[in-house]
């Protein structure tokens, strides 16, 4: 099947408006007869559910958590971008569009990104109307901060809990519709397959996670909003339950999976401390607004610090290597995430890591505390303030901005980051790849949509900070409600979809067979045993830098691990009860397939771009020496993989990317 992105004709700035003016609408009386299933209730799924219900459709929403409010969007810290230009620093829709395409290393679809930038301002208006308590200045107007990879201040925030506040906003909008009976909420339910009738997505098979009951749900369209697949690495900043299952099930039924190798390794996370570790904790990128990243210049100092003979605060300015400021003078500590992560890895690989594992760099707030302290002293009219007064005033400002993050760090690491620099190291955080969708956000299965992190569309090969929240809410509040209407306008005569058909029978049988297999497989290893092994292969061979040899090995090793898993995995308990291990088994089984496709995708893309760094593709001389080398001639396309049984047999379809409004350039942050 040839891929058709269905991008509307016309100048980029008019595409979305023209599109909206010409789509077919569904009249309110007919909407009452149309059902839509939404899987996942994070920013994308929650906002889509609320909006579709508000428009009049009957929505059935599914979450594996005990409440929609707990989806992992809640953990996003730093903020949300919008081209409001409230700061008057030259921001515009075009600039947000440009920054996002450039930040994504020219591997995203222009028309989608432009639409995202276009609706970004509405999101802020909407959220304020919903009562989201964004940070404000003393004049009562909204405050902004900067994020990596851009030169303007366009990020709106609510302390270090922006994702929480936006999700609670979407949750409140859902609650209003749940109260009206327009959303039927299925908490503690997991989608285990999609049901296709006459080529169209017509329902899902879900498991009630409390009773173990397998349920059939039908609808006129199915929306997948199940988030990213970072947990394929076992250790990531994702929630423990975050998984690829919904996306993978639709992939196996005909939805192409795009760019699986594009993974974001976030530069500022708390370093790992031991083998027992279950997850990694992110420290918001917003910290790079005020924190300076460094390692010691001299290897002797590194040794002394590791052995506890010296403290980081003992080192003078001359003895520190602020390597981002050194290498990238224009952007300094605010380079994009992929660049910052690789730079940290480069220093640590060279032996300059500052903790016992050798995998940590410093993030230092001492100069910010000084700067804010002096500024406050001036504001408060304190002449010749003492050093301790400056520190006290500066600390108060830093606390107001990042207090909850500092507290979180202190609780985990047991060190006071106001007094000693934080230690950070990159960790898997976000997956830009995902289910392929067209401009309508529809997958290659008619009637099956995919929104938010679960799709591939807007971030290219690297996502800029504060853009995930923007995309999730744009898709759910402002894009999908239009595009899905155009599809559903052809469904007004369909009538209720019955669930007592052979298609539902077959899908349900497959789901039940797999569950029976797991609970009856008297193996010798736990699910986590396999998940950790998979994570290790992924991190070592498909991590921050990749090469042909490693990727080929990864494919072989993952396949072997998958075979071992089916022989030897042990799942205690029964199918007809709450069974955490059974849930995990299904998710890890899907990760064991995705992981192999991931490696295959990374192997095929022998260029470096964004979060995908191939050691074979590096600038060899000139001012960019050592930086990632993109290859636009051969790789300016989206890799969309078609399922053919074994992941190694997946067939590649290319969506060529056209850049009409942005010139393809080397991404320089120097």
């Amino acid at each position: 099947m040839a891929l058709d992105s269905k991008v509307p004709k016309g100048p980029i700035k008019d595409k979305w408006t023209d599109y909206k003016n010409h789509i077919d609408l569904v009249n309110p009386a007919n909407k009452r007869n149309i059902d839509v299933i939404v899987v996942g209730t994070g920013l994308a799924g929650g906002s889509a559910s609320a909006t579709l219900a508000e428009l009049g459709y009957n929505v059935k929403a599914f979450a594996y958590q005990d409440s929609p409010r707990r989806a992992h969007s809640i953990a996003a810290q730093g903020g949300i971008n919008a081209a409001k230009n409230y700061q008057g620093d030259g921001d515009s829709t075009y600039r947000l569009f440009y920054d996002t395409v450039k930040g994504g290393d020219y591997r995203s679809r222009e028309a989608n990104v432009y639409r995202l930038a276009e609706v970004s301002a509405n999101i802020i208006d909407q959220c304020v109307a919903q009562g989201v308590p964004f940070a404000r200045d003393y004049g009562g107007l909204l405050d902004n901060r900067s994020f990596g990879g851009v030169l303007v201040s366009r990020t709106f925030y609510a302390k270090g809990q922006t994702g929480q506040q936006l999700l609670l906003g979407a949750y409140s909008a859902m609650n209003r519709q749940i109260a009206r009976g327009k959303i039927e909420m299925f908490n503690r339910h997991e989608m285990l397959d999609v049901v296709i009738v006459d080529g169209k997505a017509r329902g899902i098979i879900a498991r009630n996670l409390v009773t173990g009951e397998i349920e059939r749900h039908s609808a006129h369209a199915v929306v997948i909003a199940s988030g990213g697949y970072g947990n394929v690495y076992f250790l990531s900043t994702n929630a423990m339950g975050s998984n690829v299952t919904a996306g993978w099930k639709i992939h196996k039924k005909g939805a192409y999976f795009a760019n699986p190798c594009y993974t974001q390794i976030h530069p500022t996370c708390i370093p790992r401390s031991g083998d027992y570790q279950s997850k990694l904790t992110l420290m918001s990128e917003s910290l790079r607004n005020d924190g300076r990243i460094w390692v010691p210049k001299n290897i002797e100092d590194v040794k002394a610090i590791r052995e506890g003979r010296k403290k980081p605060t003992d080192l003078s300015e001359d003895e520190r290597d602020y390597y981002l400021e050194r290498r990238y003078p224009a952007f300094g500590n605010l380079v994009p995430r992929d660049v910052a992560s690789r730079a940290a890895k480069e220093r640590c690989d060279a032996g300059f890591g500052v903790n016992a594992t050798g995998e940590a760099v410093y993030l230092d707030f001492a100069s910010a505390i000084q700067r804010y302290g002096k500024e406050q002293a001036k504001i408060q009219g304190i002449d010749n303030p003492s050093e301790s007064k400056v520190y006290e005033l500066g600390q108060a400002i830093v606390e107001a901005k990042y207090g909850n993050l500092f507290q979180m760090y202190e609780k985990i690491v047991d060190q006071d980051p106001y007094k000693t620099p934080m230690m950070i190291y990159p960790a898997v955080h976000y997956t830009m790849g995902g289910v392929w969708v067209d401009y309508n956000l529809m997958t290659t299965i008619p009637g099956c949509y995919c929104i938010g992190e679960a799709n591939f569309s807007d971030h290219g090969a690297n996502r800029l900070g504060a853009s995930a929240l923007m995309q999730g809410l744009a898709d759910g509040y402002f894009v999908l409600p239009y595009t899905i209407g155009n599809y559903l306008s052809n469904e007004i005569r369909t009538g209720k979809i019955p669930t007592d058909t052979k298609e539902f029978d077959e899908a349900e049988k497959q789901v039940k067979d797999r569950i029976d297999f797991f609970v009856n497989n008297n193996g010798k290893h736990s699910v986590d045993y396999y998940h950790k092994k998979l994570g290790n292969i992924m991190w070592e061979k498909c991590g921050m830098s990749r090469n042909e040899k490693g990727l080929k090995e990864a494919m072989v090793e993952i396949k072997a691990l998958r075979e071992d898993f089916y022989k030897n995995v042990s799942v205690p308990g029964n199918a007809n009860e709450l069974n955490n291990e059974l849930e995990k088994a299904g998710r890890v089984a899907d990760f064991l397939e995705l992981g192999e496709l991931f490696a295959k995708d990374a192997l095929t893309r022998s260029e470096s771009c964004g979060g995908h760094f191939r050691e074979e593709s590096v600038e060899e001389d000139g001012p960019q020496k050592g930086e990632a080398k993109r290859n636009d001639k051969d790789f300016a396309f989206v890799s969309a993989w078609e399922y053919k049984g074994e992941p190694a047999d997946a067939v590649l379809h290319k969506e060529e990317l056209e850049f009409n409004d942005i010139e393809l350039k080397q991404r320089s942050y120097k």
């Binding site: 958590q65 208006d125 304020v128 919903q130 409140s172 609650n175 929630a239 401390s273 507290q407």
Partner: protein
Amino acid sequence: MNLTLKIWRQKDASSKGQMVDYKVTEISEHMSFLEMMDVLNEQLINNGEEPVAFDHDCREGICGMCSMYINGEAHGPDRGVTTCQLHMRMFKDGDTITIEPFRAAAFPVIKDLVVDRSSFDRIQHAGGYISVNTSGNTQDANATPISKHAADEAMDAATCIGCGACVATCKNSSAMLFVGAKVSQYALLPQGQVEAADRVKNMVAQMDLEGFGNCTNTGACEVECPKGISLDNIARMNRELMKAQLE
């Protein structure tokens, strides 16, 4: 360190539960409490026993899913943390640790340490929202200035993660800190004024219907709240309710 764990085991909602003793060894002080539970569960699975069911998800203190009552305190002995952020350095080698589910009539046990907190959701359905369509065709976000003080205070209230520690801690199983936080967030903002009276009346009525108790000003909820939600929010809710009833 080596520890003895006394854990509540209950097969399902209709079965009777009991405390069961377990031993874990070589626990690192750097582990989180839930990582210690992972070690126990791995050990149980390898011995062919059923692991302990417990709720958890983000493991960074924000989703509100984890809910253990540890040594008689919601989320354990540390302050300002959820169970997932509680670290084993708070315990000593040889300690015996008691682990129970959050207990309240409105939070029935589903299995082991997992409880049903859907009563919290139903209170939110009753009025935990501002009635505005999600069309995006609202006024510009900066059209109505909001004092920084009010915005910050609303944010402090909105930071509630809905974990239920306040209810588990309260001798009356009162949910007034939880409800007060939501009522306060909207009461402090101009957007929330139009339907403020209905909101507080409906949310409080649902809270009573769910079987939560009343507040007798002990203040334990505020102490155990992982997000430091202040008791002032209960006072504000009572004031809002009184105002609404007089209207």
